[in-house]
Assembly symmetry: C2
Homo-oligomer: 236 residues x 2
């Protein structure tokens, strides 16, 4: 899983480098996360329904990082090819069609660390709400690909902030849940590229039922206060 | 609803003072909230199954505040008498038996602001988790007492911290959800006694489905990191 030890481009610190596939990497959340990871020395393969859709966004991310003085490793591919090429696969897709997509990638996801950022939300005239599901999206992915080590993480970092000029989202925490300590440690480590701090181990995978729809609360706060909110755990 | 304008005992600032019944006021969460509100000039009636159980805890809270130089208004009563005496009723009870208790207090809660801090959680060998419910405890209370203005708030402030020496839980936010703007404004205001800042309007009452079981995540973090965690909203 560990690909290489490289020099972190922003801080000069040696870090563990992964090859990360971002499924749904052309969406705002996926693109933002890809940008954060690629600028910190991880190799990123942006996945989309077709390579033709993914490649231009990969160029956009790479061009931005080069303009900032970095030397990014970013490419675009179909979701299946992206997942096949990576050791860590990030699901940054809408919930609609999630289960079908994961099932279609079962072969490529088998045995890998899979990080789900999926938020199963609904919206009506009252505002956002968590969908009433029997299990979380992360648990669904785990059930569909039993050999994968699925964690839930990065649900609450806002896409515009990820793509913004801020060096780090250092007022926020990335909450990580999962049943595999090793897989959780990967997500905890990858949070450093986003917040400058390790992610917070929030517990078992089933707690994704709480983490995923919490995004509805943040969106609601964003609308009321006209901000981009995030979660910070006090007391750490 | 507004009882009086009094001088805030800790800051000297004029604040709106309420008469607050804390149902389940002899439990750690209820006692802790009662302490915070009474030391900031609110009149608090601690409720319990019997007045005999409530009175000693009311004395404990009052004695502590007097020892700190305050002049608290704290009394103990049966839950029904406490609710009848107050304008704002705080439900700080375990989820087990919640619906039956609220139904038994329907007459006393009618037409009032009701603040639910109830966390419907389960615990097993894996750890804490949110119970799989059709609706949140706060929504159940609203359904049982349709004329009450129910809000959800104060789910995430830890009982030991509330009862601790810290002046304010000023690294934490109190998230408030509800469908009545007036009732939400009461909880937003009462958060000042706890965190030194107004509570955060988190949206509609149905988002209590997210706020209540989020406590399972905080308890899980507490166990892993040996801390007393809380929630802070970044970006505000």
């Amino acid at each position: 899983m560990i690909q290489d030890i490289v020099s972190d481009q922003t801080g000069g610190v040696a870090v563990t480098s992964y090859t990360i596939a971002v499924i749904g990497g052309t969406g705002p959340q996926g693109r933002g996360l890809a940008y954060r990871w690629a600028r910190h020395g991880h190799e990123v393969v942006l996945g989309s329904r077709s390579a033709e859709k993914a490649v231009p966004v990969a160029h956009e991310v790479a061009d931005r990082i080069r303009a900032e003085g970095g030397a990014p490793l970013v490419s675009g591919a179909s979701n299946a090819d992206a997942a096949a090429a990576a050791d860590v696969v990030v699901l940054a897709v809408p919930y609609a069609g999630h289960d079908e997509l994961v099932a279609s990638l079962a072969e490529q996801l088998a045995g890998k660390v899979v990080i789900s950022c999926v938020n199963p939300l609904g919206f009506d005239k009252v505002g956002p709400y968590g969908l009433d599901l029997e299990r979380s999206a992360a648990e669904s992915a785990a059930a569909l690909v039993p050999t994968a080590s699925v964690v839930g993480a990065f649900h609450h970092v806002s896409a515009p902030t990820l793509w913004s000029e801020v060096e780090y989202l250092d007022h926020e925490d990335v909450l990580v849940c999962g049943d595999s300590a090793e897989a959780k440690s990967v997500a905890v480590e990858l949070a450093r590229s986003v917040t400058s701090r390790p992610g917070v181990d929030a517990g078992a995978l089933r707690l994704a039922r709480q983490l995923e729809p919490l995004t509805a609360v943040l969106i609601s706060i964003n609308k009321s206060y006209k901000i981009r909110s995030g979660i910070r755990i006090s007391g750490l």
